[in-house]
Symmetry: D2
Amino acid sequence: MGETEGMADLFWPGDARAGDILSDEALIAAMVAVEEAWLDALVGSGIAPAGAAKEDLAALVWPNHRDLLAKESEEGGNPAMALVALLRDGLDHNRDAARWLHRGLTSQDVVDTALMLCASEAVASVRASLRAQVAALAVLVEEHRDTPMVARTLTQHAVPTTFGLKAAQWLTGVLDAYDDVAALVLPVQVGGAAGTMAATVELAADRRDPVETVTMLSLELATRLGLTASTPWHTSRATVTRLGDAAVTCTDAWARIANDVLLLGRPEIGELTEGGGGGSSTMPNKANPVLSVLVRRAALTTPQLASTLHLAAADAVDERAAGGWHAEWATLRTLLRRAVVAGEQTTELIDRLEVHPDTMAATLAAAGDDVRAEQRSMAGLAGHAPGGDYRGATDAFVEAPLARAAGVLAAPAEVSP
Amino acid sequence: MGETEGMADLFWPGDARAGDILSDEALIAAMVAVEEAWLDALVGSGIAPAGAAKEDLAALVWPNHRDLLAKESEEGGNPAMALVALLRDGLDHNRDAARWLHRGLTSQDVVDTALMLCASEAVASVRASLRAQVAALAVLVEEHRDTPMVARTLTQHAVPTTFGLKAAQWLTGVLDAYDDVAALVLPVQVGGAAGTMAATVELAADRRDPVETVTMLSLELATRLGLTASTPWHTSRATVTRLGDAAVTCTDAWARIANDVLLLGRPEIGELTEGGGGGSSTMPNKANPVLSVLVRRAALTTPQLASTLHLAAADAVDERAAGGWHAEWATLRTLLRRAVVAGEQTTELIDRLEVHPDTMAATLAAAGDDVRAEQRSMAGLAGHAPGGDYRGATDAFVEAPLARAAGVLAAPAEVSP
Amino acid sequence: MGETEGMADLFWPGDARAGDILSDEALIAAMVAVEEAWLDALVGSGIAPAGAAKEDLAALVWPNHRDLLAKESEEGGNPAMALVALLRDGLDHNRDAARWLHRGLTSQDVVDTALMLCASEAVASVRASLRAQVAALAVLVEEHRDTPMVARTLTQHAVPTTFGLKAAQWLTGVLDAYDDVAALVLPVQVGGAAGTMAATVELAADRRDPVETVTMLSLELATRLGLTASTPWHTSRATVTRLGDAAVTCTDAWARIANDVLLLGRPEIGELTEGGGGGSSTMPNKANPVLSVLVRRAALTTPQLASTLHLAAADAVDERAAGGWHAEWATLRTLLRRAVVAGEQTTELIDRLEVHPDTMAATLAAAGDDVRAEQRSMAGLAGHAPGGDYRGATDAFVEAPLARAAGVLAAPAEVSP
Amino acid sequence: MGETEGMADLFWPGDARAGDILSDEALIAAMVAVEEAWLDALVGSGIAPAGAAKEDLAALVWPNHRDLLAKESEEGGNPAMALVALLRDGLDHNRDAARWLHRGLTSQDVVDTALMLCASEAVASVRASLRAQVAALAVLVEEHRDTPMVARTLTQHAVPTTFGLKAAQWLTGVLDAYDDVAALVLPVQVGGAAGTMAATVELAADRRDPVETVTMLSLELATRLGLTASTPWHTSRATVTRLGDAAVTCTDAWARIANDVLLLGRPEIGELTEGGGGGSSTMPNKANPVLSVLVRRAALTTPQLASTLHLAAADAVDERAAGGWHAEWATLRTLLRRAVVAGEQTTELIDRLEVHPDTMAATLAAAGDDVRAEQRSMAGLAGHAPGGDYRGATDAFVEAPLARAAGVLAAPAEVSP
């Protein structure tokens, strides 16, 4: 299909960061890759004739086909059928390829597997962002484990804490998200018309063990595409909902950081500065914490998208859902792109962050007596004079997340799905 | 910007039906229209020099600017700032226009007003679909007010009813949605930096009554754009949430129809046929009720989008929300486009619908005795022999929705916002 | 059933404010009221014998029946069937009443109508809260129309405004919510087994016009219960979703106020104080803005409850939804109780609110030059020296909401549904 | 507190199945257990005097205190403060216990830890239900691995399959849910006023290593309560959101079963019967698939509850969220109770399920030629005559879920958290 520059959504500033991930073009390319890998597997197993595999299917789809496919996808109810028709048209010079293309598959196989391929890019991006954040936050925690500041609860000053411990809480959220993302499994879908693989078994009817042949084909497809092998999951959609839940766990963690930056960067507080910062269309000199705003925005929208994936999963019936399955595609696309964008924005936000220990110290000093009231009360109870800075276990509590961070950073950066 | 063919989303089959409504291009065109109308109003009032209004701003934005604007919108956090910069660049030959462009406005004024302009197209489309459905359903009700069928509750046969009464229930849902859509108000947003219009008042400082001048400018903007005048609603977002709620009320009504078509069109039931119908990528002869599936799909996703608009509204703080506002744009876009698409699909679904009175009669006859058990019990209670077809008030209950339908159809097809 | 003290949910502090509204006891009482009104109507019309109406059905249900009914409601899938059985048992001394009880109705009639009765209490409470807020906010706006403060956008200082204008934005949100609540209609549901009223028509078979008799019975029921008459709306649920949407529009408006109080009440800002305020379990002297926290809490949860009502509406199929209908009851209960509670809390919050004009003035003065940058830029453009306080139209913009407030307050406090 | 019979919600038929799990009474009991275990740990470590641990705190709270606590919880914004006050009142005879009660803890410690204790009961119940379902479904799969039926996609007949494979898809969903539930971790929360444990460190100031002492106390608390030890997670809420996501993954899997039972149990299809079945309030002889309806109902509501937990997590700011934390309690309660109820209902549904192989065979035979069209087309392509029953790999595809099921059933039934 040639190069594309990546989509970008004017209604979602920052969307360009996600480039082509889960774009229409990426979905088409992934569906083509699925058809090609399957056709090659059929040929490789001797079921289809050798000539069927000689084609570079990707070359048959041109950029201007996108609009056509988008429009024609309505008739079949999904984008795979229109693509198969387009590819068959493009294969009129190779009758074997045209005849054997897509044999044994159904639309859901192509769409589900292509979505997993596309999702793997999003997951890799999110994982890389999380990893970069783990590294940056671990440094921040170490730097500020002795930076005192006032802790705030329910908007009011509470007791002393350190900025290192606050950053360690941020880090814990990021580590939790990392664990969930790292545990994701992205399988191929190969079930045929109704999850029985009957068509492929029929095609392999003259083999010694047609069912085993078919199982090997499914494994072969997974290997070629870099996905996990699986029996059909047409109507059992935890694969999809876990992707959604993990993505939301990410935006939860990122929003928690953005919230603090927005708050502590207010002019009256001034303990943090986003750094960089956007301007105003009418007010010169105004520096807005744009990254934090945009990250927070994402987190206001993603939980409802993930809930839609669950509702779609719960709508499964028969051997293919009549609406639930169709509701997944755009929802997953939007959710994962937003996670990719917010992930990069959060990394940048952390990198740019300016910490103002002097202001933190000044606020704490000004809060003075009030934030020591609990200390006096405890010291009285224990029967000794209050002493020290009342920082409690702030220094110790950063160790656990730092150790988890070290574990993440010691592991190889990229793992295969 | 020249002609565009309309966007289409491969992940949402049928999206092409919404054409350019709320596309990136439409948003840009609407923002340009807002800037131009405001500049013209400034000139018209004598505040800005006459030369400032001589420009066709739309000619300054080319199709290839879209990607640029989409990318640059991140820096300012919204798409208006990048557009203003682009327009000013394009106006280097007209210093007056460049200097007076956007004066008195803030980004939120431009984005909110442009969104309302874009939304007005979506609302008009949805309203036209609802009206067409009201007309078609009224005919269907009349045709089948004497077509007996079995009523089903909790999946089981209950008592006799008519298909006319079922269609009247469909019609009631559509009429309720129509009422909510017809009540929508789409206002301009003109508040300046923080909803005080201070900049424009300053610009008009030499007028007898600067505040009145400013109020007239706001009214003038509304008139030029075909929207409703309003004081600023920067942080009071019922305008947006009502749009969302009305759109969901539409998809609720449409899904209720699609559900019945999907169910009654099952081969074992066969009382309705979607008509037309999509094929299968591997099974010849299979006719899928694709429109119903796609309408149902929409209704599984829209309630959560509307809830996001409410969450954004509830996030308002200060004189501009730090994330809530930004979460609205893409959410409203997606929600309204899905309503437009599902609206057209439902109209087509009703038009194509094939009703099978013979099958309905046969099912009712087969259910026979069981669906008359209640009748026997009531007749016994009343002390008479059960008689008649036990259709109750089916014939009478269609009158109220038919009368409402007549009212809708008697009103002018299109109203100004 | 005797007196109950009102339920209270430990997991939702403040829930006790909603008293018995939509409690289990209230639902039982409402269902009993529906059965009694219908039985009386049957007798009044001469269909049922006079003796059937002599019973005080409410006396037959005792407090300890609640657990029984709650447990037995599972078998029938709804609470009406178990109640009818209980009432019939209690009527063994009056065979006419036992025989004629519930005749012509179905469970959905009883549950839906009872829910509307219960909802009417919630709506009245919310409406009274909104009205009290309108009155209090109108006073606040008037008091502070000349109280200068800094406007904040995206967390940063922007330009001057007045606290009066901020309060006017709060008022606008409350007025919008009031309009939506005031427009609600609460109808009876009378459809019989499948929305055809066939049973009642059969019972009235010996009348001149059985269908007209039945229509009069439905009207009679509405009159007795103080609800609106309606043809059946078994599967057309805008009645329910509009209740939900209006309730969320309320919590949106209330959260917008709470957000400002939480923010401006931070110790570093100090422009508002919640007044009253909760303590801490470990830190003496700490005053938490508890009402604001609890109001904000509500608004984080209600949009998703309203979206569930829409999903339930979109799930309608046949002549009774198989799950969608059942999902409405608890959802509507929780949503409306939370609205009632948040409404009272917001009224109290406004009443207790302490405004600190001196601090507002000091912050504005400190922001000084920066918040006048736009003014200088505009004055330069207009060719005059910047002058005045740059408050723009703040004084004028409070007039529209004040006028709307006056309209609300001039109308009678309570209207019949 | 004495015996309670378990709550039951009339608005949610079946709720009684959840008994006291996450009831108000259970929350009170759990909070008391937390306070008592902490007090005992303080005494055990020698920080508090021995006399402080002599009390049975649970005996100080009586059933009629529930309403009081529910009402007073509003003032502090959470239920812990009112409870501490009540317990201190009850301890006026033991000054040591009164003085040392709750020392070092904050309300969030008590509420969060108590919620985890309550949640552990819900998780155990759900896990037991899933395990019972795994056992029952494994039997069903084995029994019907050779029971042919027609597969349906998009409501239409597709190709042959077996009921064993359909049941294996059900089983896969249940196994996926089991995996997610089994992976849950339920930690104690011990952070003190702001997550620094400063109060407890102050109390232990005369120890050799106060921080280590405090860490041991936290571990001791976890051991006493049967929960997992953890550093504070005040503002990092994946603990809570994972509970929610796992619960929804359960209801997704259960609804997928219920959907099939509802559909295949329709009189026109008749391939399954729910068994048992509820009646109708007006129609004798009608057997409604009530369990399936109620399970499906749950799944329409839980995804939005889980999304609220995520929104609450993303709302974290400072050292305690101002609303987000408070939104969790009732949401988690409702979500987990619904999962417990739906879990039991699904187990019962599977146990009661009646399978009608003859009807399945008859439907498949009637569909005849159409569902073999793909087979003919594949056989033609492969160059052989179509032969056999076209069941593909149905027999093989049940092996993987059966093996997973065997793994689950081989593991010990109950694990400690």
